[in-house]
């Protein structure tokens, strides 16, 4: 069977000592930043992006992927023990997870969260292995017009499913597209928006933008907010294993959460956060005892935790098969590929099977490592929460600085990141979500290239986008999504989905 052959290739790559080490490093870093509030996977991956330049591309991707799904595990630890979400994707885990902890069942909550995540991780890794090859085949039949429409759909869907104002999010995408244009135009050789600065003629690196907006911007935002007091659950975690009753109630929730998360993860703009919110709502609505939610219902931990991990994993599918990033983390992954001169897209699977299947296999290894990292070693991570933010931000600031500098050994990049840091802070204050900007930034040059090619095919006639059936279908879907958001009934539902407190 094809699948088994492919997986065998993958495990051969993933089980080399170096790649095991990088998977472990990714899982550890992911857990660390997942546990620590105030630093998220986007900022971390951005900071480490320049370093992957010095690694094998496969090893680099394995590590970055580990950080992303590792953060989903770590985030739940903080949510359960401290009632602070370590990541946005574990916001809903706070509700029932922390209640369980206060009833002296912290161990059970942590175990349910880790096992639910593990199950979801295994299942969604299988999904990637099964559905990626056929999707890549579809992608390979796409021409320039189809690609342009697909990217347009991806960008629109990303903002429709994200929370906050849609118009602002679209504006942020356009802003990202514009920033992506800075530098030399590959087709005409003319420079654009360089302000006469030599360092800008090569364009802005995705790492510089992401470290500035997410890394530095988050530091400034966090420092302007008053420090939260961290109310650690003080009693020792005695009983780690959940009761038989917990298992009986948790497993259907895990199945539902995994299914929901897997579907939502594939959609652009989906991924971990949306999945966990949706899963919590689903559990609460389908439960026979909705009154227990908010008072330590084990389903309220199992559902969202499996969903966020499944969503985190399946969001790799469009990135790996079509080269389309569905969220900011995937945009950075594409950045990591381009650093190594690898053109993202459907051809990756056929041209670099070792890399693709190695990454898939490493995800399964990484999930296994994460269960071990998170359950027996939980005490160590809890200790880390005692490190005050005033030390943490100095370390983050320094790693941002060194990270940006190493992108191209360039002082100008550091200054640029400082500028984007202030911009990121302004965006946050004005409630303009910066994640869509990164999507636009990464897709900008690709979209322009495909637009140009499509125009050359059609002889300058924009009707080509509606004359080709696949392209038309994609654009119509985008239009329908836009109209749906404009409907008041859907709009209120959408806001409801993100308010579960």
């Amino acid at each position: 069977m094809d699948l088994l052959d492919n997986l065998a290739v993958g495990f051969e790559v993933a089980l080399t000592p170096a790649n095991l080490l990088f998977a472990l490093a990714g899982a550890l870093i992911g857990t660390l930043i997942g546990v620590l509030p105030g630093i998220g996977p986007i900022a971390t991956i951005a900071m480490l992006l320049p370093l992957t330049f010095h690694l094998e591309p496969t090893s680099g991707l394995i590590m970055l992927a580990g950080i992303f799904y590792g953060a989903q595990y770590g985030g739940s630890t903080t949510a359960i023990l401290v009632n602070l979400p370590g990541e946005t994707s574990s916001v809903v885990t706070c509700i029932d997870g922390h209640q369980m902890a206060r009833q002296g069942r912290a161990g059970a909550a942590l175990a349910v969260a880790a096992l639910a995540s593990f199950f979801a991780g295994c299942f969604s890794t299988l999904l990637i292995a099964t559905f990626a090859p056929p999707l890549a085949k579809v992608g390979q039949s796409f021409g320039a017009p189809e690609y342009f429409s697909l990217m347009a759909l991806g960008l629109i869907a990303a903002v429709v499913l994200a929370h906050g104002s849609v118009i602002k999010a679209v504006a942020m995408i356009i802003l990202g597209l514009l920033v992506g244009l800075v530098g030399t135009d590959g087709n005409t050789g003319g420079t654009r928006f360089t302000f006469g600065i030599t360092e800008l003629t090569d364009g802005i690196d995705v790492a510089t933008l992401a470290i500035g907006v997410f890394g530095v911007g988050e530091i400034i935002t966090n420092l302007t907010q008053p420090q939260e007091t961290r109310a650690l659950v003080s009693q020792r975690i005695t009983r780690l294993w959940p009761t038989r009753e917990d298992f009986r109630r948790a497993w259907p929730a895990v199945l539902r959460g995994t299914a929901l998360g897997s579907v939502l993860g594939v959609l652009p703009g989906g991924g971990a956060t949306l999945s966990s919110f949706a899963a919590y709502a689903l559990e609460k609505r389908s439960s026979k005892h909705p009154a227990q939610f908010g008072h330590g219902a084990v389903e309220g931990v199992a559902g969202p935790e499996s969903a966020n991990n499944a969503g985190a994993q399946t969001s790799f599918i469009p990135m790996l098969t079509l080269g389309i990033p569905g969220n900011a983390v995937m945009a950075l992954m594409i950045g990591a590929l381009t650093i190594h001169g690898i053109q993202p897209g459907p051809q990756i699977m056929t041209e670099r099977p070792g890399m693709f299947w190695g990454m898939v296999a490493s995800m399964w290894m990484g999930n296994l490592m994460l269960v071990i990292i998170n359950l027996p070693l939980i005490g160590i991570w809890v200790q880390l929460l005692k490190v005050p933010y005033r030390f943490l931000y100095l370390a983050i600031l320094l790693f941002c600085g060194i990270g940006v500098y190493t992108v191209g050994n360039s002082s100008a990049a550091v200054l640029l990141a400082a500028f984007f840091g202030v911009a990121g802070y302004v965006f946050t204050r004005l409630e303009c979500e910066p994640a869509p900007m990164i999507l636009g930034f990464v897709l900008g040059p690709l979209m322009e290239e495909n637009l140009r090619r499509a125009m050359r095919i059609s002889g300058g006639d924009p009707m080509i986008f509606v004359q080709r059936p696949i392209s038309l279908g994609l654009l119509l879907t985008a239009l329908v999504l836009c109209l749906l958001v404009a409907l008041p009934a859907i709009r209120s539902k959408r806001e409801e989905a993100f308010q579960e407190n």
Partner: protein, 167 residues
């Protein structure tokens, strides 16, 4: 609050309205779009078939300008968006100034004085951004971070960053 209803007494009310988040965001988008249009005023546009350097940038700027106007109008009409940025955190200038300054100085100094001294500068200036750091704590943090970054970046990854100033 409708635009025309306001009596003439209040310059402050105008200021308040302008300081709403959506209004400011709209103005920001419009500002960037106008800047982009001005910068690209001499870029050759070309035709759809043979797009010049300026075709896509100018197209995007016009779209952004339109979206900015939409956000602005929404902000002016939406009475709920009364929360002004300035009313939430007052001491915001401190992190903005010192975090930015520490990075700028780090970037400018690293090639001249090497990793160790530029880290000291970054930590020293960056520490002012938070008010609750004591001098000794800062020094200890700086020493730990110097050791850590030397271990990771110089020893581990073998990056070619100067460690000490070249005399």
């Amino acid at each position: 609050m409708v635009l025309g209803e306001r009596p003439e007494n209040s310059g402050a009310a105008v200021w308040h309205m302008l300081a709403r988040k959506d209004v400011l965001a709209g103005l920001m988008f419009m500002g960037v779009a106008l800047l982009g249009l001005w910068l690209s005023r001499n870029y050759p546009i070309g035709t759809a078939l043979r797009m010049g350097t300026g075709y896509v940038p100018r197209l995007l700027c016009w779209i952004l300008l339109g979206l900015g106007v939409l956000v602005l109008v929404q902000g002016l009409r939406n009475a709920q968006a009364m929360r002004t940025p300035s009313s939430e955190a007052s001491a915001a200038w401190r992190p903005v100034v010192f975090v930015t300054a520490s990075l700028v100085i780090f970037g400018l100094s690293i090639e001249r004085v090497g990793l160790v001294i530029s880290i000291l500068l970054l930590i020293g200036i960056g520490a002012v951004a938070a008010r609750d750091l004591r001098p000794l704590e800062t020094l200890a943090a700086a020493l730990v971070l110097i050791a850590l970054s030397w271990g990771i970046f110089i020893l581990g990854l073998g990056l070619t960053i100067p460690v000490w100033p070249e005399w």
